[in-house]
Amino acid sequence: MELLSTIVTEGDVVDICVDGEKVLLLEGNGARVVVLNSEFAIAETIPLEKRLVSARGITADRYYIYLYDDNTLYRLAKDKLNMSVWLNNISVAGLASYAPGEMLVSDRRRRIVWFKTLFGESRSFLEPVEVGQPGEMAVFPEGIFAVLAAPNRLLKVNRAGIVVSSILVPEGVDLLTADKKGRALVARRGEKVIWLVEDGSAKGFELTEATDIRAIATLEDKLIVLDGANKILIFFLPHRSS
């Protein structure tokens, strides 16, 4: 993959996500979200009203930014910046946006994927019997979602919660994202290889510039990689093989 840019951050970053044309960075001290614009320059910093002691992850949809630590999922309204608890007593393994204001939440402890709807209630989307050990989640085009279901399985699920395909992925991968062409990218935390899953086969790319992949996300034709806690690498994604 072709490296486009490198950004070194002053503070530790624990997770990244893409929000429209922006990239959001969750700082490790759990006190701020840094927003990079599409040119990867700092656009703004969002102070959080409540500090996340062990900040874990971030994702966003049109209305909200979702943040979680080891036990709680929070929701922060973008235009009002008020932060409220959305789910208590949950160990979030992954999130995927079902619709604005509605999320699929992968619950590591209960081994279930919840559909957290607009009005706040939760209902099960994938039962333990279907998903086994749910992990990271991603959104694919045309109403398809993906969840890492076991150390070497990627399940693609439609809007009704029906598993439409189960794809073998490299053992132990725990990071997942998808691009707009419907390709999955998976990686194992702490390593430097990204696997591009396309048409049922996985192709590995060793990111020589990276040493310790912590999080991945895609923005249009670019792959954004959090390497270690302070480095953001931006690559051009390879063209589709077919």
Binding site: V34, L48, V164
Partner: protein, 1049 residues
Amino acid sequence: MGEGYFLLFFLTVAIIPGERFQTFILTDGISTEYPLSQTYKKEGIFPVLILGTDSVFVEEKPLNRADFFLDLSGDRLVLLKRLPRWSVVRVVFNYIGCPGMKQEGQRLAVKLGSLKEDETLTIVQRIDTAKLPAADEWGISGSKSLGFSLGSDEGIGIEQATRVVLSGKVEDVVVEAELSDQSAPIPPEGTTLELEELDRIIINMRGKGWAGSFGDVEVGTAAGSFGTLKRRATGGVVKGERGIFSLSAGYARPRGKFARASFLGTDGVQGPYPLAPDGRSAQLVPGSEVVYLDGNRLVRGWDADYTIDYSTGELIFTNRHIIGSRSRIEAEFQYLTEAYERSQMVFGLGVQPGPFQFECSFFQEGDNPEKFLEELTTEEKQTLGAIGDDSSRAWLPGAKYVGLGQGDYVREGEYYRFVGTGKGDYQVSFTLKGDSLGSYVYDDTLGGFRYVGVNAGNYIDSVKVPLPQRGEIIYGKTGFELARFTTTLEGAFQRRSLNLFAQNQARRDAGALDFTLGWKDSLVAINYRHRSCGKDFLLPAEVKDVDFAYRWGGAEEMDRQATDEFFTRLTPWQWLELRGELGRLVKFNNNIVNRFGGGCRLGWFWGEFFRVNESNRVKATLSPRVLWVSPKVGWEMELETQKRVRAWDIGGDVKPMESFNGGAEFRVTEYAQPDSERWQLINQSQVLQVNWNWLTKELVRVEGLGGIQRMDFITVNENNWRQFFGTLIARWTPKRGLVFSTAANQSYRQVQLREEQFRYVGKGNGSYRRDSITGGYILDPKGDYERVVVFLGKFTAAKEFSYNGVVEISSFEPMGFSGSFSYERIGSDTALLSEAGRFDLRVDVFALESFVSPVIGFAGDLSVDRTSPMTGKRTTRHQEFIELLTTRILDIEIRNRLEYNAFFRWLSLDEIDYEERGFRFSVTPVIGTRWRLEPGFSIEPKVISQPVSYPELGRFRLVTLESWLANTRVLGEKTKLRAQVGLKYRWASVPYLPWEVGLSQPLGWTPQASFTFEHLFNEIFQASVQYTFEDRPDRSTEHRFSFQLRACF
């Protein structure tokens, strides 16, 4: 190879900073967009700008970076302010030619090096979610869902949700629209606020020279030196620009009403300082507040300057700023009021011919007196109209005769007596007045208000009616700016109608005139400003004259009849700067405030002197920098005829290494009053504050601040006090898979006392149920009462302490360990006010993963809130569990869980009402690889100690048995069915259960069933059907059927 490429990349962008390009442009005085010469472009090469290397010089003076941007992909320079005609503009930048990259599309940029510290701290309060992308084709996306639910209890309910995002271009007009609308019966977890958050319409349109926004917008206008009038509202704004003309117009319904608060802090109290018109509580429009401390604007955030609770308006400062009695706090905010329907209108016109500028705007906002929250009778309106602008008399009787058996109160002479819901003939509204100012008190055993005698209670049976008001403002400005010389003349006329019920609407007209004249270059800056105001002139705007009272010796802005101010700055050399100012304020009572003073910066030294009438202020600071040490010494004095304040501080900052910086400050402030011969020391305050930040890559992070604040009273008979405050954040990551993280915080604040009131709202319509034996109220979604919290405006001093931590050990092969805890306590000197905590420990055993995965865990929590005596009772619980998940053995996967639970409910801090202890064992196998049947079984025996509220029950046992069978079937890729049937049985060794236990755990058989059907018709349409059944022994049989059709496009 990888490291080599990486090094090469950095060498390319860091050591060899690309190619340098320079071009010149001559401005025409009108355009703000100029093409760059394309000579730097080559075939197949895409230029990537190196950020930070671009500069624009106007007449060889650098242009502020905020006033331009370079768009290399569009080959243009965009100026964000109009430059005078024939200005010579030089554009310089470095770029890298990147082969093979696309030239179209968005601009790419290479960021050099690391983010600067100040960039990370640049805080902007909002995200612009309404960014308008250029679009050539129409695109539509969104979803629409329609559903209904039918329940044997709640009846029929219809819910719908619509979300449409539309973007496209028609006739050179770019449109992006977002429509969102939800309606549904509000479930227990949802709140009205959440629904409001998502009901929105945003339409952005942009044509050549004009742009418009409709929906949830910020509507307002700038009124120059008088401030900025803007509101968060629902409406529309259109702005246009053609040549030298600009036009804007808008109409909206504001979400809140503007208010301003200005007060001094209290020694040793970080908050809460309520931002509320009544001084108790108000719901604020989130993000609408602007807070200043000692004239400096603050930033909201846990690790910044303050936090605010928008639901109550309570403002609390963080430990970064220790609040004292000299702290000058100012805030502007918008609070929600639903008394009247409000509307707002703005109109603006601007002309900018050459160096001249003319602006004119009109702003109107007001209430609609015909649209009051409750309908007012003609007599009531006449009564309110007769009081003119005296809002203190705007009271109406709270009692209304509603007919026999329709009300809750009966009239007995001059007062009203609560007789029970639907048993009286009056409905009465009460208002909190304050201790010994009313005749009634709220009686929670009655569930209503009780008459206790004149001035013996705190409520009255009247209601305060806000008077409908309207305000109009006309603002005009003309100015001239040529090279270094500027002059502006501004005028504003304000009409306030303080009571629209009154015959002349209680009008007050006022105007103001502001004139400035200035000259500025790199050596000298001179400014003169004059302002004349009519009586009562004060715009409801974010003002620019922050700290007005301090600068003018305690005068308020409303006192200003005229001010004249003269400012000068002289910077002959870089190490020398001289400032001076002279001012005169004429008040409406003809008193005059004179102010003069100045300052001098001489290298590391800064000194200033000001005299405002009889008050003198002197300040001197020495802050040298020697290598990595920046010591600081300061002294200041404020001298008035009856008061002297002296303060000195010593401290400094150090940065001995890249990974560490710290600082310390010790400040002593003395307050004195004149005695017969000399100044007598009254009290002395001392604050020692230390901060540090140590960050060693990812290994260690230790940051925080701490200190002590103490107050010694020398001649006043008060108790001396001292307070320790601090914040510590630490994280240690010795190796991958090992994380230790903790945070602790202690600060001093106050807690506002509250009263919980429970109002009967009809059977099954509330969220609380009342226990007829204990008189308590217990949360029940099908209850009969609603809870209302009334803030009493009384505060008690408190100390807030919190700590939390996380431990993760996942680097050892045989097992992983994770744990977290949090604890927060707020207490006064003598008593606990609230306490909350939780812990969670888990051990995952990986060693046996091939056939079984055991998990062992411990968890617990506690909570108590003594400021809410009804609902804040102390509860504690803990749980230990072991979970075993087997891999498939003989086509069966089994998940077993054994847990021990203990739950304690307390009557008070040291008296337990009752406790529950017991086990729960569950087994949930999955049988068959094809059928995947999910049978399940659980048993839960427990023992409940003798409840204090139900002593006749004694100690008893409660056993729950539960079994179920579930199965999920998928038909093709489009249909999913899930069915579950179950049966629960509860048995107790007593004939009935304590009311609260019985509410959640009724005795007897409870059959349950559910069925879910999901079907995807195609990529767009899907339908879901759900049926649930439950037959609790203590309720009628419940059937609930729901259907939802959803389209995602």
